[in-house]
């Protein structure tokens, strides 16, 4: 316990401990460390007063600055919305035709629309809006539900077969599975339907065309029309064009007729503002086909 004993070699003070003759030099923490430690504590104490920190008995200390992240983010979004209102107000006020006739405004709409499209729509319809099996190609303009801007807006807003009360509803019946048609008649009508758009006929198709035409006239014309051009009021596709949502090979068309189809588009009215929907409508309506 003789603190202050000098080490004869270095001339420095030892800690006073001794373990089997081994002693330790006293090497105190540098003063500057204590200075910064103290400064850090001081900063944290100041922060206690400035920001929400301590739980009290019934409430918590709200802080002198009154900062609330939720208020902050709401204000940031409001400011951004206001900054954009220079042109978004025009988008909301003008008609679709007027906006599309204004190249400067359309440039802004397309830029914003692309971001929205990639984030919200591209998962199904693809980054270039070219769709995929089961998900419509929007660039091809083969509209199931009319391609006028007002109709596109409605589709985006309420969705198709969605959870919205006003949803567009459409269903291809399962003619085979539900026993409306025997399997061989399904085969006949598949041969006929594929012939309508001039697809390469499968073996033996030629002989089935007459029967297929009759089956089509008896079962399919209600939705697809006598000329098989479809009906945009019920989302029935045109069977005479080159667009095939679920594939044009015999097997795909057969399973469409046999097991039915019912696509689903979410109702974006629940997630997007009217402005966003209008921008997306304009973006989709003015798509110029596959870019890449």
């Amino acid at each position: 316990m003789d603190l202050g004993k000098q080490d004869p070699v270095t001339g420095r003070v030892t800690t006073g401990h001794e373990w089997n003759g081994i002693e330790e030099l006293e090497t105190p923490i540098p003063r500057v460390v204590f200075f910064f430690l103290g400064a850090a504590f001081l900063v944290s104490v100041i922060c206690w007063f400035l920001y929400p920190t301590w739980p009290l008995i019934w409430t918590y200390s709200k802080g002198l600055l009154g900062i609330d992240q939720r208020v902050t983010v709401t204000e940031q979004v409001e400011r951004a919305t206001e900054a954009r209102s220079v042109w978004t107000a025009q988008v909301l006020d003008k008609s679709y035709a007027d906006i599309e006739a204004d190249p400067a405004l359309m440039h802004l709409v397309t830029e914003t629309g692309r971001t929205l499209f990639v984030d919200k729509c591209a998962a199904c319809h693809g980054v270039n809006a070219t769709g995929g099996p089961g998900f419509p190609d929007l660039a091809a303009k083969a509209w199931l539900w009319d391609g006028e801007p007002e109709a596109i807006e409605e589709t985006i807003r309420v969705g198709i077969n969605s959870t919205n009360d006003d949803t567009r509803t459409s269903q291809m019946l399962a003619f085979g599975r539900d026993g409306i048609l025997p399997a061989d008649e399904v085969g006949d009508v598949v041969a006929y339907v594929r012939s309508l758009s001039g697809l390469q006929p499968a073996e033996g198709d030629a002989a089935r065309l007459d029967k297929g035409r009759q089956v089509f006239a008896d079962n399919c014309v209600a939705c697809h029309g006598e000329d098989a051009k479809g009906n945009k009021d019920v989302g029935a596709p045109d069977l005479t064009d080159a667009n095939w949502l679920y594939g044009s090979d015999v097997q795909s068309v057969f399973s469409t007729v046999y097991s039915g189809r019912q696509g689903h588009m979410p109702n974006w009215g629940a997630k997007l503002s009217p402005l966003d929907i209008k921008i997306l409508t304009l973006y989709v309506h003015t798509l110029k086909g596959a870019e890449n």
Binding site: E26, P28, I29, F34, W54, P55, L56, I57, W58, T59, Y60, Q69, R70, T72, V73, T74, Q76, V77, E78, A80, D119, K120, A122, A123, C124, G132, G134, F135, S162, T163, G263, H264, M265, P266, N267, A270, K271
Partner: protein, 246 residues
């Protein structure tokens, strides 16, 4: 001075023990003390419902497959997140999450508002092979989910475990857990009607994997994904109120 202080406390056994206890309790205090005012930090959400047995099974699969390692479920109060994903997450939305799945890493996008954003068919195809619908995706394939039959007979026990940690499942829900899990994935059966009776009319009852004949793990996971962010309308109301100037 510090040398003197340390020397003194180190040589006083009781004093040293008291000092250790005081320092060690800071960690506990930081975790426990905020709970004193939890009624002020967790929002009101009277319309908040519990997970159905099928959704809970899906949640267990989400945990089993480690989805949380790449997907967060927490939209922070930052402008870019709110504009991309939707209203920021509220504490009350995780009220029935045991354990919570907020996550802290996003290799994939945040999933807190994924419910009803895409169709069931999209989720099924995406889980079987993500590259089919998102060519640049790096997510692994989860094709076996569509093949594996879902284990539903022990779901009642899962509900009891949730009850034990404070989730308000009723005895009726526990008793019917297996039946409800089956019913939610098989519309048009007798079991289906009980689900909306017990969990609310807005509960989604359909063949999530597209096959009403079987209840697969795909059914459960898609049912869970489709309810994310939709257990309560509170976050949407809160952001609408904020837009209207409160």
């Amino acid at each position: 001075m510090p040398e003197f202080f340390h020397r003194k406390i180190e040589r006083n056994a009781i004093g040293f023990v008291v000092a250790i206890v005081a320092v060690a309790s800071i960690g506990g205090l930081v975790e426990i003390a905020p709970l004193f005012t939890i009624h002020q930090t967790v929002e009101e959400a009277p319309d908040m419902r519990v997970y159905t047995p099928l959704e809970l099974a899906g949640r267990n699969i989400y945990i089993r497959e480690g989805c949380y390692a790449c997907h967060s479920q927490m939209i922070r109060t930052l402008r870019d997140e709110v504009e991309r994903y939707g209203p920021y997450s509220l504490a009350v939305e995780s009220k029935y999450d045991h354990p919570m799945l907020w996550g802290s890493k996003r290799t994939g996008p945040d999933l807190a508002r994924i419910g009803d954003k895409y169709s069931d068919a999209w989720h099924v195809r995406h889980l079987i092979n993500p590259r089919d619908v998102v060519p640049e995706s790096v997510m692994p394939k989860y094709g076996w989910l569509a093949r594996n039959e879902l284990r539903i007979e022990d779901l009642g026990a899962h509900l009891v475990a949730q009850q034990d940690v404070g989730v308000p499942y009723t005895q009726e829900m526990v008793d019917n857990a297996t039946r409800d899990a089956y019913g939610q994935a098989t519309p048009d059966t007798d079991a289906a009607s009980g689900v909306s009776e017990r969990y609310g009319a807005a509960t989604q009852v359909r063949a999530f994997d597209g096959d009403p004949a079987r209840v697969t793990e795909m059914d459960a996971l898609v049912a869970y994904l489709q309810i994310l962010g939709r257990l309560t309308e509170a976050p949407y109301k809160q952001s609408a109120a904020a837009e209207a100037g409160e």
